[in-house]
Amino acid sequence: MMIKIQRDDFNSEKEINNIKKLYSNVGAVTSFIGYVRDYNNNNKVRSINLEVYEKMAYKQFEKIIKEANLKWSLIDCLIIHRYGKLDVNSKIVLVTCFSEHRKDSFESCNFIMNYLKKDAPFWKNEFYDKKNEWLINSN
């Protein structure tokens, strides 16, 4: 598994290919990419600031990937989550699951994202024109 928690942007295709090239038995790759939207809570978004409890995030990501491996037949898994100040259109997160067949990669990717939205220790502080607001994930 590959877990990266970083301030910097990343090249999704390059990150995915770096793992894909290790395995000739991978037949299915499913990715989710989350971006900063320009509109939320009836306000025009300028940027977000993402705070992280890094040590816990690594530990929790490892745990959830291990759990996904028990439920689905996975060859590898990649999570990249950014933190810090992110402008509109910036990537926030990439989750990619590699398997032989599509069912395993689709379902495990969704499972990991659902966990991540619910429990991963990151907090978004969203900045509008004249105010800012801490967000809570609804699902």
Binding site: E51, Y53, M56, K59, K117, D119, P121, W123, W134, N137
Partner: protein, 81 residues
């Protein structure tokens, strides 16, 4: 023991991190009593079960024993992804 605060909880404590005297705090319930006496603004959030607690980077909801080497984190509901 070390206690860390995150997101808007950190704004209420005006403190990111502190060392606590573990002779006075033996378990998570005692820690909760300590933090609301030191930071009264946290009480309503604790009462509404908004605060999350992690001990050594694992979510904890039951009243577990704490020791000097533990790292405790107090934070609001998450919003990653």
């Amino acid at each position: 023991m070390k206690i860390k605060y995150f997101a808007w909880i950190k704004d209420l404590t005006s403190n990111e991190e502190e060392e606590l005297d573990c002779n006075k705090i033996n378990n998570l319930e005692e820690l909760k009593i300590f933090i609301i006496s030191k930071y009264p603004d946290l009480k309503k959030h604790l009462d509404k079960e908004i605060l999350r607690f992690a001990v050594n980077q694992e979510y904890i909801s039951e009243n577990i024993e704490l020791s000097a080497k533990d790292e405790i984190a107090v934070f609001p509901p998450v919003s990653g992804g």
